[in-house]
């Protein structure tokens, strides 16, 4: 069995390497094609012209006054609007409208549209982005007020250079500026590693999603990443990484099947090494496994479980397969 496993590992190791190097190949090829576009930058010495050939005065460009327009060359919103290494005014006009009057008035800020607030988001961002997907909508929980809308989190002209999708700041700082409760839970000693190579808030959360409705659902909490635009399976985001906890198990743990992972675990940070919601394992377990008179799900431990003895205080010492077992009805292996 061990050799089987190592064979499997070796095969997957190869697959993994192929993937990594395949990705690099794509990177190289993409670089070449991207470079082709970039190499179209004009020669620094303009071609000589005679007085007779002199063209009419060139059309003023946004970048004549706005440095932002010069730096827009690598922005995804400049896609298709770069000619000879210069961002055309059309790219700016997509969001700011026709700037002719603004230019003619010598830069009157009243004569140019500047998208702001929800109306700004709806009239610019959502014209293009509210299509062909069920995950981005102007009715999402983060796109519905002047307080929170597309432009609250995304900065088109001065986004964080090391973050994708033009977000204004690294995600942890961005989300944490409003969701202070979740952010400060990270101060606890046991938490998922966020940023610096680790996860980000959007690894689990769908920031464009709708407000969560209902509760007690392992499969669907809509503000969590359950079914992305690429059609993933409807499941809790936790098991997207922790695949070994997904099951199905012959002897499943009722708490996981009826409740959620967060019935026992605190995902944002915990004082318990297993990121439990209580400081000790027995406390988590006993709060459900104490059937008093109400009909609730949770069995009664036999009386030899003497909680005053240390060996019975860590339930998972024996019930090791606490997420579910295929081999033992009492989850002992």
């Amino acid at each position: 069995m061990a050799s089987l496993a190592s064979d499997e590992r070796r095969k997957d190791g190869l697959a993994m390497k192929r993937f990594a190097y395949g990705g690099l190949l794509v990177l190289l090829l993409s670089g070449s094609s991207a470079g082709t576009v970039a190499q179209e930058t004009p020669s620094p010495v303009p071609p000589a012209t005679t007085a007779a050939e002199e063209a009419p005065a060139p059309t003023p460009s946004c970048s004549d006054c706005h440095d932002q327009a010069k730096h827009f060359l690598t922005n995804p919103h400049a896609r298709g609007a770069v000619t000879n290494g210069v961002v055309s005014n059309d790219a700016c006009a997509t969001c700011h409208g026709d700037g002719t009057e603004h230019m003619e008035s010598g830069g009157d800020t009243m004569k140019i549209a500047v998208p702001r607030g929800k109306a700004g988001s709806d009239e610019t961002c959502m014209l293009c982005h509210d299509v062909a997907t069920d995950r981005m909508t102007r009715r999402g929980m983060h796109a519905n007020s002047n307080q929170v809308n597309c432009l609250t989190c995304h900065s088109i002209h001065s986004s964080d250079p090391r973050s994708p999708h033009l977000v204004a700041k690294p995600q942890l700082a961005l989300c944490g500026s409003c969701h202070t409760q979740s952010a400060s839970m990270r101060n606890k000693p046991y938490a998922h590693r966020l940023d610096r190579g680790g996860m980000t808030c959007s690894t689990c959360h769908e920031p464009h999603g709708r407000r969560a409705k209902g509760e007690q659902s392992q499969a669907i909490v809509e503000h969590l990443r359950t079914a992305s635009s690429r059609g993933r399976m409807p499941e809790a985001p936790c098991v997207s990484c922790h695949t070994e906890k997904r099951g199905p198990f012959v002897f499943s743990h009722g708490g996981a099947e009826v409740g959620e992972c967060t019935t026992c675990h605190e995902s944002h940070g915990s004082s318990n090494p297993n990121q439990l919601r209580r400081a000790t394992v027995k406390q988590v377990c006993m709060e459900c496994h104490s059937p008093t008179s109400t009909a609730s799900l949770g069995s009664q431990p036999p009386s030899f479980h003497n909680l005053s003895l240390p060996r019975y205080q860590n339930c998972t010492t024996c019930h090791v397969a606490v997420h579910g077992s295929n081999r033992d009805p009492q989850l002992l292996k």
Partner: protein, 624 residues
């Protein structure tokens, strides 16, 4: 490590190729050293930053191409993200993430599980955009979790420490198409997922006598040898579909459906020799030979529909319905041969075979109905209010072998939760005020910790002066309870946070925040050893203070942060963290950076867990 070096080298070569082609590039690569005193295992469990080569960051970006790398190299976590596209042709995304998971706490009793494992995840998606309205795509995900660990096995009133080797691999292939047919858009996906789990266990060296030093009925319980192997295969085809379209200029309709059927097969063997006892059999025995074949199936589907109404630019509303159905069936055939057994009195020597043929089932159905309205009467104001109702119906039919004491493990459970929420915000001239409240009201709990009543409140006020000042305060409170006399569940979580950001000059930014949280939870529990009812109390009082500054002058940048977290209550501890980072740009395209991080962890009740750890890093910065 060798693989990592080659990988980093290849990555840098690729980046140089891009760099040579005038794409902006930003690279930070260097080496990190560590200096740890105190409990190193605790440090590794909490932080686990290691010593070695580190590609701290690499970003290459253009309109059609973006590569972001963060912390690839030495652990504990690293990621790579590649997005590239050519309009009218394709869009390709590749993500890779590595995470090292370590856990080994100070030993207070045998049975502390440990692990030192790595998870690698590769995720790739390719969308073809050649056919206008129809965009086929294909995706692949690979997730590997493997490494050693320790676990335990309970037999005959004793627990034995086992060494564990685990290798779990999950692969997913998906294909489908997004489409846009007139006013209707949508996407259909068919996927196949396969999970392959391999686990092998042996008795840990020196663990022959187990956790319990006392003999059982006068006979010492020991294990001579133990080997256990388990193979789990899960195959899961799945289908997802959604459609959305503008029914009228003011109404948008969306429907979605998803279904998966996970089919799991497991084979396992156990071979054990020793001097053991079984109270279920009432016998001593000298070994176990066990084989098991099990099968479990989870079939889940969900479907829903939603209508979004836009009455005008100030008022919109949404209403939706969703149903989810889940069926879980399991069957197991486990054959256990207890070798050379004798009764506790020493009579009737023979092998005893026990065959367990178990079947169980669970069925869960959930309906959720919701409606909400958003209203923005004047520009600075916005309000949102809504109601929803979720109804869950669960039937659990456990196998008799699962039931040690009757009650609490099977039956039909029903729970209905009604929710009402209201949000309001005011935003004008840098001032933001926001408040939200939500009330949930349930009829029955299914688990004892389910609430019957829950209230959530949130207040946020912030003021921002252009360019130089921002201050904000936030208060959160969640209270949930079940006032039934036999449960008496009452939990309350409060949190208050204040943060301030000052930018007196463009080159200098000062920041500080303070937060305080308190968590109280009480619920009645029944002690199994004497059936007495007592209160289970969990209490946490935490205070966190953070402060930092960022400074940038000419070619020099500096970032520093200090934080202190104190926790009182069920598990008191203190955690001090310091971070500093300085960079100096020697030339426009070349600079150096230094980093220092320090963490100090102290537990009030268990000083053996304390540690102090410093990390130092030197990095080269390349930019063009």
């Amino acid at each position: 490590m060798t693989r990592n070096r080659w990988f980093l080298l290849a990555l840098c070569l690729a980046a140089m190729n891009l760099s040579a082609q005038t794409m902006p590039i930003d690279v930070e690569i260097g080496y990190r050293w560590t200096d740890i005193s105190g409990n190193e295992a605790m440090y590794r469990t909490q932080i686990n930053e290691d010593e070695g080569l580190l590609l701290r960051a690499l970003t290459v970006a253009s309109q059609d191409f973006r590569l972001d790398v963060s912390d690839l190299g030495i652990g504990p976590a690293g990621s790579l993200r590649l997005e590239t596209r050519r309009d009218g042709w394709y869009r390709f995304n590749l993500r890779y993430r590595k995470a090292e998971a370590f856990s080994a706490l100070p030993h207070v009793a045998l049975g502390q599980h440990t692990f030192d494992r790595t998870r690698d995840v590769v995720d790739a998606d390719l969308e073809i955009q050649r056919w206008g309205a129809i965009k086929p795509f294909i995706g692949y995900t690979w997730n590997r979790f493997e490494g050693p660990g320790t676990t335990t096995w309970h037999v005959g009133q004793d627990e034995f420490l086992l060494s564990q080797e685990l290798s779990d691999t999950d692969r997913e292939l998906r294909a489908g198409a997004g489409f846009e047919l007139g006013p209707v858009q949508g996407q259909i996906t068919q996927g196949w997922r396969s999970f392959r789990g391999r686990e092998s266990l042996t008795l840990a060296p020196g663990a022959n006598n187990g956790n319990n030093p006392n003999p059982v009925l006068g006979r010492p319980i020991t294990i001579g040898e133990l080997t256990r192997d388990e193979r789990t295969d899960v195959d899961t085809p799945f289908t997802t579909l959604f459609l959305t379209g503008q029914a009228t200029s003011r109404i948008r309709l969306t429907g979605n459906f998803a279904r998966f059927a996970a089919d799991s097969d497991t084979d396992g063997t156990d071979d054990v020799t020793g001097s053991l006892a079984s109270f279920a059999l009432g016998r001593f025995f000298s070994g176990i030979a066990e084989s098991s074949t099990t099968r479990a199936k989870n079939t889940t589907w969900r479907g829903g529909a939603r209508a979004d109404f836009s009455f005008n630019d100030k008022l919109d509303a949404t209403a939706g319905y969703r149903r989810e159905h889940r069926e879980l069936d399991g069957s197991a055939l486990i054959r256990t041969l207890y070798l050379q057994s004798i009764t506790f009195g020493g009579a009737d020597p023979r092998d005893v075979e026990v065959i367990l043929n178990a079947t169980n089932a669970l069925e869960r159905e959930e309906d959720v109905l919701d409606a909400s309205v958003s209203y923005r009467p004047l520009a600075p104001f916005s309000f949102r209010a809504g109601v929803s109702q979720s109804h869950m119906d669960v039937t659990v039919a456990p196998d008799l072998s699962e039931i040690v004491i009757d009650g609490g493990q099977g039956g039909t459970f029903d729970r209905r939760v009604r929710t009402i929420f209201l949000d309001g915000s005011y935003t004008l001239a840098g001032l933001t005020l926001g408040a939200s409240l939500q009330r949930d009201d349930a009829d029955n709990p299914i688990l004892r910790t389910d609430f019957v009543d829950r209230d959530r409140y949130r207040l946020r006020a912030a003021w921002k002066a252009p360019r130089w000042f921002r201050i904000g305060v936030t208060a959160d409170e969640t209270r949930q309870e079940n006032d039934r006399s036999d449960v008496a569940y009452d939990a309350r979580l409060r949190q208050y946070t204040a943060d301030v950001l000052v930018t007196p000059i463009e080159a200098l930014q000062l920041r500080a925040s303070a937060s305080r949280f308190r968590s109280d939870s009480n619920i009645l529990i029944r002690r199994p050893e004497n059936f007495t009812i007592e209160e289970s109390v969990h209490l946490e009082k935490g205070e966190s203070i953070e402060g930092g500054l960022s400074f940038s002058w000419s070619r020099l940048t500096f970032d520093g942060d200090l934080s202190r977290f104190e926790n009182e209550g069920s598990l008191p501890f203190e955690l001090d963290r310091s971070r500093a980072r300085m960079t100096f740009q020697l030339r426009e395209s070349f600079g150096i950076g230094g980093e220092w991080a320090h963490d100090e962890y102290r537990e009030a009740a268990f000083a053996v867990a304390d540690y102090e750890a410093s990390r130092y890093g030197v990095f080269l910065l390349l930019r063009r």
